[in-house]
């Protein structure tokens, strides 16, 4: 403890850094499969929650281009009933809420006219107020909610239209943020689904999102073959 030569200090810190680097990456490799499995399990439960009649699903990936983030992979989960027939679509929508990002799984019916359901995957809203967005009384409003024209919201009174939800007292911001995020994402998903199903496809962000038009890049996205992940 007496000698403080710079060399000794540098050696100590480097050795520590190497050891912990190795230790951490080893442990990460060890637990990563489990973390990934948790994520997929959670995704699966969420998909079956928002598409209650689905028994199985496969994943289609699209590559979209936006000015802000560059290329971005969008996954659409295609729900299937017991006969293996297509019965609806599910997708993840994420956007800024009151405190952090709110991430949701959204179910859409086969005719693309209304939502089958919505569930919140991740959020950082205030406990006791904003976290009411995860409560059934709020989420149930998204069942059979029409998406055309785009979803609207109303405060303090029962919704008057079948494309309208009622916000939460004390958590208006969170509820409004959800509606905005959903409308944005639904517009993108509809654009994607308008193309041939399961085909390779590249799209620019649709005009509805009000982002300056982006340039399309050559097709690179791959349609993942059905893996029979459900069940």
């Amino acid at each position: 403890m007496k000698k403080n030569s710079p060399l000794k200090m540098i050696i100590t810190l480097s050795v520590t850094a190497i050891i912990i680097g190795g230790l951490l990456s080893g442990f990460y490799k060890l637990v990563y499969p489990q973390i990934e499995a948790n994520r997929i399990a959670e995704e699966k439960i969420a998909i079956f929650t928002v598409l209650p009649e689905a028994k199985d699903y496969d994943i289609v990936e699209y590559e979209i281009l936006s000015k802000k983030k560059g290329t971005e992979i969008v996954q659409i989960f295609r729900g299937k009933d017991e006969n293996g027939d297509l019965m609806g679509f599910a997708f993840v929508a994420a956007g800024p809420g009151f405190q952090g990002i709110i991430k949701m799984m959204v179910g859409l019916n086969l005719e693309k006219t209304y939502l089958e359901g919505m569930t919140v995957l991740d959020h950082m809203e205030t406990p006791g107020l904003g976290d009411k967005i995860t409560f059934d009384f709020f989420l149930d409003q998204f069942k059979e909610l029409r998406i055309s024209p785009s979803i609207t919201y109303i405060k303090n009174v029962k919704p008057k239209h079948d494309n309208q939800i009622q916000t939460i007292t004390g958590a208006t911001i969170s509820a409004v943020a959800i509606v905005k995020t959903l409308n944005k994402k639904i517009a993108i998903i509809l654009e994607l689904l308008a193309g041939p199903p399961g085909k390779l496809k590249v799209v620019a962000e649709p005009a509805a999102v009000a982002v300056p038009a982006a340039v399309a890049v050559p097709a690179a996205a791959v349609a993942v073959p059905a893996e029979g992940k459900g069940k």
């Binding site: 912990i20 230790l23 973390i35």
Partner: protein, 204 residues
Amino acid sequence: MAKKTLTYEFVKGIWRENAVIKMLLGMCPALAVTNSASNGLAMGLASTFVVAASGLMVSLIRRIVPGGVRIPTYIIIIATFVTLAELFLKAYLPDISKSLGPYIPLIIVNCMIMGRAEFFASKHPVTPAVVDALGTGIGFTWVLVVLGAIREVLGSGSIFGFAFLGEKIFTPWVVMVLPAGAFLSLGLMIGVINYFTLRKRRAA
């Protein structure tokens, strides 16, 4: 230095030198995650693991590390154990990992842990260092669980997620699970403990 028994080193962290209520260390997690008893328990146990493991390491290497880089080395060791705990929770207890969120990595800057490493583990052999850390960790855990239980009962009408007060007979005091409730309940808790300590001292 007077020879102190292991039992003494263990017990002092639980009450007499309790990190939260007596030393006012580790306040961030104590306030942030105690909106339910189970969150408090998880945070307490994770911190106990980190304080004990880093106490062990710091005590092991106390003769090797040069004085000039003592603190950085300790911080790296603590950060490593915190990351291990974080990955473990993510893999095997995903629900708890979700509800504690970014407050798990923030264990790194819990002054309680740095305090034990710097003032105790770096000056003592392995056994007392670990025993002292365990005592500190358990002392921290019980305060978090009690605080979490108080806030959960009053704020959500449940305990450990079990709703024993129905919505009909009890209107939850939402403020208790909000940030303000954290400050108020911890303040009152320390106040009550001080009250009884003072009364005992006066009686003696």
